[in-house]
């Protein structure tokens, strides 16, 4: 393990100002004894407000686990996770649920819309669960941004994959969360539909000032981000600002080689 370049990344933001979410010395360990697997090894990272961050790395590097932990979907073994200024480790399940509902948005690889609800109902579902009325103006803005105004009454089964994922993006944005997490949001889409969805995510950062964190293994997708962090064997190994697909691809290749030789 080469730990030297990591020092530069360790807790670069001592204060929480301008940080949408952060982790400090986050570790995640599965099993014990012989079957002990370290998925995340003391990862410290901050996601800035109004920034589109991509987490990249080879399969099994722990990028999804990092996202699940950072989003409060999974528990951590040690270390801390914050959304804004809230320390997730101190929250019980109800508080955590409320936090996810009000301050976090999700876009999943498998869309995960509720088949019994219409597109509009799916979009406003987080608000309905919270028992709040949607802010009409904001809703219109989000809906028109993802270009779904004509299809709001349709059920998910009547929408294409790209349209379903756009509904999912709108659902993630509708409650004005502090941060939106995307788990391979383009994994189930063809390249055109994928490009659309990535465009919306980037627009949400540019136009709405949204913070977005996306896990992906696709250099093209990563090319939409402002910043790419690279994970390998459960540890942060590098980061890149203003990435391009080519640069990301090169970096990934070197990670792969290192993964094989180590």
């Amino acid at each position: 393990m080469t730990a030297a370049p990591l020092d530069a990344l360790a807790s670069p933001y001592p204060t929480t100002v301008g940080v949408a979410a952060s982790t400090t010395d986050l570790s995640k360990v599965y099993g014990s004894g012989d079957t002990r697997v370290v998925a995340l090894d003391r990862v410290s990272i901050a996601f800035r407000e109004g920034e589109f961050t991509a987490i990249m790395g080879p399969s099994g590097c722990g990028k999804s686990t990092l996202m699940h932990c950072a989003a409060g979907l999974d528990t951590v073994s040690s270390g801390s996770v914050r959304i804004g200024t809230t320390e997730l480790g101190t929250l019980d399940d109800r508080q955590l649920t409320r936090l996810r509902r009000d301050r976090v948005g999700f876009v999943f690889q498998a869309f995960n819309l509720l088949p019994t609800l219409s597109a509009l109902e799916n979009i406003t579902l987080p608000l309905s669960i919270a028992g709040r009325r949607p802010d009409k103006q904001w809703l219109d803005r989000v809906v028109s941004m993802v270009g779904l105004s004509q299809r709001l009454a349709h059920r998910p089964a009547e929408l294409s994959g790209g349209q379903q994922q756009r509904v999912a993006v709108a659902r993630a944005l509708v409650s004005r969360p502090a941060i939106v997490f995307g788990d391979e949001p383009t994994g189930n889409l063809d390249s055109r539909a994928g490009a659309e969805v990535l465009g919306f995510l980037r627009d949400s950062v540019r136009e709405l000032g949204q913070s977005v964190v996306m896990v992906t293994h696709d250099p093209v997708a990563a090319g939409y981000a402002d910043r790419v962090v690279f994970l390998s064997d459960g540890a942060l190994v590098d980061e890149m600002t203003r990435p391009t697909p080519d640069r990301v691809l090169d970096r990934m290749k070197s990670l792969d080689t290192r993964g094989r030789t180590s």
Partner: protein, 854 residues
Amino acid sequence: MLRTALRNVLAAKARLAMTVLAVCLGVAFVVGTLVFAESSAAAHRAAASKNFADIAVTVTPRHVPPGPEADRNARTLDDTLVRKLAALPGVSAVRPSAEGSATLNAADGSPLRARKAWANLADAYVPGEDGKDTRHPLVEGRAPAAGGELAVDSGTAAAGGLRVGDTVTLATDGPVMRKRLVGIVTTEDSRVTAGGTLVLFDRATAQRLFATPGHYTSIDLLAAPGTDRVALSERVTAMLPADRAEATSGAAQAVRQAATIDMQTRGHRKMPMIFAGVALFIGSFLIVNTFTMVVSRRTREIALLRAIGASRRQVVRSVLWEAALLGLAASAAGFVLGLGIATVLPDLLGTAEDPLPSGPLVIGPLPVVAALGVGVGVTVLAAWLPSRKAAKVAPVEALRSSAQSPSAAAFRIRGIAGAGLLALGGGLLVSLTGAKDASVENLQHAMLGCALLVAAMIVLAPLLAPPVIRLSGRLTRRLGVTGRLARENALRDPRRTAATASALMISTALVAGLAVIGDSTGQALDRQAATGLGADYVIGTRGNMAALDPAAARRVAGTPGVTTASAVSDSVVFTGGRVRQIAGVDPGTVDDVMRLDFLSGSLKDLGPGRIAVSNSVAREQAVSAGSRIKAALGRAQELAPYTVVGVYQDNPTAGDVLGARAEVQRNSLLPDTVQRILVRTDGGTVSEAVEDRLRTATGNSPLVQVKDRRAVVDEAAGAMGELLTLMYGLLAIGAVISLLGIVNTLAMSVSERTREIGVLRAIGMDRAGVRRMIRLESVTVAAFGTLLGLAGGLFGAWAVGALANGALEGYALALPWGTLLLLCLGSLAIGTAAAAVPARRAAALSPLEAVGEA
């Protein structure tokens, strides 16, 4: 393929646990009932054959119609004959008896086990050469030796709280007797051990009461060891005066007695059998539904099997094997459970007053065959339909999409078939509302109509689910997004929802129908039985041959708290080619105790040769006040002219004809007796104290019944109690099975929707919200079943009630709001209870399920 089936059974064991439970319960009921029936019949047989085990031959007077010949025959069995029989070769002992019946009071003064007159036995204590009666071994005290003494068996003593030295009040057919209890014996007579009583008198007293002095009612002969019983029986017959006495073998008597007792207790087996049938019928929905879900869940797997080359037949066979294995396991478990039920049934059905004979469980081939047939048969049949459907799916199609909704054509066919059944059943029932009598033909039509109605409801339920649930969804939507989601989930697969609700629907329909008919009938009987009764108490007798002393009426009238006591002498009168009931009343006091509504004339002219008739008699005979008719009253052989002084509205208290008491009493078949004393109390007081005083006034005879108004009505509505038990039993069975069904469906749908629930958790629904959503879905399904069941049950009850209207005067549809409300609340409770486990499982799901593998 067998191995695949076996693997599936084991792999899906949690999923199929509910099916096993359903089959198991159905089988348990059937087996329990059958084993109970066989065991109790065997216990009766064993007890009866024990009674007669050592009796080779019994000699009785030849049975002839009453008359001088019968009197002569009754004097055939005397001590001379006893001695002659004892001297026959092969006879080891003779046991003469003087048998009859006697009813006695318990220590607290109430009649003891008096409801079964055939089991209130009395006999003579006949000592043998050693001074002991071998049939009745003494366990305490001594044998009755004088007219004022008696002995009872230990069961009777225990039930009545009687101890040696007590004075016991008893009656055989008329006057009350008081005798001292001097001994307690044991008996093996199965009539007594099955909940009867036994009283023993000394020989002379018994002979005086039940035969004539010096004579017996029967003589039992015991055979010496090694004697040919048939030959002995022939020797006895040859010795008897053939026209006066006859001989019966002990074996024949045992068979006869077993049959009698068996018949008397047969009712105990009917109810569990009905429960078993209903449990199985409703349970089969659960089984079919589970298999449909299990198979549709495995459509992909089946398609894969098909894609790699399994034939349709192999696929179907695999599912059928699975069902057969499951059915076998469940039947075995159900069989064991059934034996448990059979063990406890006698305790549940019997009461202290009315115990059932106990004996070892008898397991014949029938329960085994029934268990296998019912358990395996129903399960395999239930699996057959879905497996065929699964096999029909093209492999590619099944691999591509995860769920197919049924085609519109299938729904149309369902709609047409359902509407047809509904039209047929409903039409038949509605057409019956025109019929005004409950003839067998009409009843059969009614049953057919109800069956068609149930079938139509089952077929139509999936089509009715969406509109009905949308309607009820208006309510649940108020509960926010969880209510909305619950509604949509219930609507997702209307067929599954309907099948799940079917169990509850059928049981609700049955119970609602029964409740309405029962309540309406009860109210009608209530109204009818008490019609015309102005008295607060009716004093009567138990059995037809007992009667009251006219002097008792005067004693009752003199009792504190009594304002009027009017004696009624009941008898029969032959007029217009028919035998009718006549009540002889005292015109002076009868107005106080009977409410008579005279259409013409009045009672004040009642007297010898002057009668009043009910409206229906008047119509049939075409008479009115002032007419003259010919009638023969009581024992009178010749018709005599009578003048009709009045016509009154029919009522059961007065009967067909009213006459003057003196005249009726004189001509009665039980001359100079009265049958009823109608009592009015001060201010209509009805209390235990008053009842006790009335009992005392009538000499505390155990044959006398003192009934208040309520008891009179209850007696008339006797069958209603049984209907109520049936209703609540069905309700319980329906509740248990529907609960299982809903749990099953919910568990299945939770495991199918793992990902969706994960998403809901991820985007911010808390555990309580998830639980509430599942619970609401459950309640929605339960409410749907209940609503449909209520509608069907009420319609059926309304239609069948029309028949009752013809058979039962004053029948009107009455809705038992309490019971119906209870049904609705019960369904809510079932819905909530059924959701408990699935809801907890759903709430425990991690939000990470949303990102799990597809």
